[in-house]
Subunit: 393 residues, 2 copies
């Protein structure tokens, strides 16, 4: 089977990019990735990862628009969507395009623009992922799902709100050193929990989750150039190898799961990726885990086999998941602080894996000698998950 | 390279399905396809083709919702979008999934629900494919593009409105025998052209195009089960082989093309598909061509090499493209009369190719001993085109 690598990466600043057009934001990230790879053309296929340009930008066909903006015609172009895991799904499709021989060089660019709409509209937009008859009408937005999930986890494993905040503090520390991060603002345990001085910031969004327990609403894009490893020598940068990709679905409705705390799709996606890579959780040097809500960083770390169920928080308390720790998690700042332009997140995670594996991360957040990086991108409330393992050659 | 075949097909009635949920419509087509293949599970990957569930249904993540409705968890699932060519793009991705070894059995289901909104909203919805700054604000909807294109073709090749209507008459005749067709109503030359008795029906929508020169606004879904040929024996039906797939983009904006009558992406997509199949236009027994506007049936037939430029109409006048003719085109009734639920169309075309190649089409519209069928699915106004060739084994 054909081996595939990443030879170029690009990223926009995450944050409020309302002044720009979505396709231009994506073009910016794409040109960055192509420049990094040392090319200005020769792309066979463009895969766009996006969740909601139709709803958010009143625009469709952005895959064709992007090709044209980049003068890449007649490159093939498709848009791949899978909710907040759209980016990783587009990456998976780019991988398949190369392995199948349909393409030799693929540009995968993922982006989302969520700041032109109001906060409520953004919550509504993401909630279109829920079931339109038995979830959505009952107010089951994503923060509501996450809050209930957190409550159940707290009840079962004794997790406290203080412990939850430890994850936020770590993520914000990492994001402060990441120039692309949306929120480059250190937060303190006291700042997150103290409700006395700024109620907007500190009040509960969905109890027990406060504002700093969840990701901001962001615009942004990220991009990678992928190629067959046997043709990688002609690019400027040494390739980072795609070692494993796995994806899996779970019941669309959370209430249909036997145990709502059991994130089966995460486990299955990771297992498939490990199997393909021929490695196990112990071989992973660092991970980017989909912490749209900080509880997910903790639970995903358990589901992918880093820690036993209920035990991740001990490692977090000990600092093991900090950049300088035994197993750094979200050295980018994670969705929590780097930001979460939904469709873009999967490729932003891959961007971070490549950057770290190349040893190019900024001072203070470069993981020491990483060999394997794992990214987990979480769609719906765990109903469609993609896990990707990249390896240093 | 792994060979891939289609072993199951399913289709809903095209028309007004507003009473049903989109995912249920897609589930219906999927269950049809699975029943046709003789399976009730064992799907590794679900590919959903859809253009606008976010805008039209205020729902996202329909790929995960479909998996759950069909009890196919933990099958992988992605949504693939490429405007009105979304169905074929999903099919292409399904093909890549199998050739790459990521999946052995793939369900590709494409659907769209466009009748819950008003006619104007439907026109607006499709026009989101145009450029948001230099096309859309100037009223360049898809009927306007098609009308200008038709005018230019008429000026260059002397095509008349009467000749254009010949295509409509043929398509409606075929659709009358297709139980899934939206408009099962024979139309006459006089009926199309005579403006005296029913102005709504006969007036120009966008001069020189009248109502019966363009497709209706439809709901519907279609589905196929694909598998690796080496594993095809365990299914109920004999596989139809995927011989060639090609896709290509052209400039996003029509005004950036040197010659707007030159549908380059159609030509390139077809050439790639022919090359992969190891055949040429002369080997094609029949074709499903994307006639959202009847002018496109004519121009696509020329671009894929069936006729010289400006000459297709002679063959149409002689009846060569009728079901009983030398080279039947749109035996299904085409988008014109079968209907065009945009995202569904590509898979509906594939459905028709398989049905014809199996010899299972209804009486009066079965092509005689077909060996190769070609489908062309047209995205934007020709800015992203997918061509697929299926072969009888």
């Amino acid at each position: 089977m054909r081996k595939v690598g990443v030879v170029g990466i690009g990223h926009t600043k995450f944050g409020n990019l309302s002044d720009y057009e979505l396709v231009d934001i994506m073009a910016y990230a794409s040109l960055n990735a192509m420049e990094d790879a040392g090319i200005d053309g020769g792309i066979d296929q463009v895969m766009v990862g996006n969740m909601g340009a139709g709803m958010l930008n009143h625009q469709t066909g952005i895959e064709s628009a992007l090709v044209s903006t980049l003068n890449l015609e007649p490159a093939m172009a498709e848009l791949v969507s899978n909710g907040p895991a759209s980016g990783s799904s587009a990456f998976k499709m780019g991988y398949m395009a190369i392995v199948s021989g349909m393409a030799d060089v693929v540009l995968v660019t993922a982006g989302e623009q969520m700041r032109r709409i109001t906060g409520w509209e953004a919550t509504d937009f993401v909630a279109t992922l829920s079931h339109p008859e038995v979830e959505y009408p009952y107010g089951l937005t994503l923060p509501a799902f996450a809050a209930m999930f957190t409550r159940a986890y707290m009840a079962k494993y004794g997790l406290t709100e203080r412990q939850l905040s430890l994850i936020s503090v770590k993520d914000h520390l990492n994001a402060e050193k990441n120039p692309f991060a949306h929120v480059q603002l250190p937060v303190t345990m006291e700042g997150i929990a103290d409700s006395s001085h700024a109620s907007v910031v500190n009040s509960y969004v969905s109890e027990p989750l406060r504002l700093y327990h969840m990701c901001p609403v962001s615009d942004g894009a990220a991009s990678v150039v992928m190629c067959a490893m046997d043709g990688a020598a002609r690019f400027k940068k040494k390739p980072v190898r795609i070692a494993g990709i796995g994806s899996a679905t779970d019941t669309h409705c959370v209430h249909n799961r036997k145990d709502p705390l059991d994130l089966k799709a995460v486990r299955l996606a990771a297992e498939t990726a490990y199997k393909m890579a021929g490695i196990g959780p112990k071989d992973i040097s660092f991970a980017e885990l989909h912490d749209a809500f900080v509880i997910l960083e903790l639970c995903l770390a358990e589901e992918v086999g880093f820690f036993k169920k209920g035990k991740a928080i001990e490692a977090i308390e000990k600092g093991e998941t900090e950049v300088s720790g035994r197993l750094p998690i979200n050295p980018s700042g994670g969705l929590k602080a780097k930001g979460h332009p939904v469709g873009a997140t999967g490729i932003s995670q891959i961007y971070e894996l490549v950057k770290q594996l190349r040893g190019e991360a900024e001072k203070g957040r470069q993981v020491k000698n990483p060999k394997y990086g794992l990214a987990v991108n979480f769609g719906g409330f765990g109903n469609n998950v993609v896990a990707t393992i990249l390896a240093k050659e």
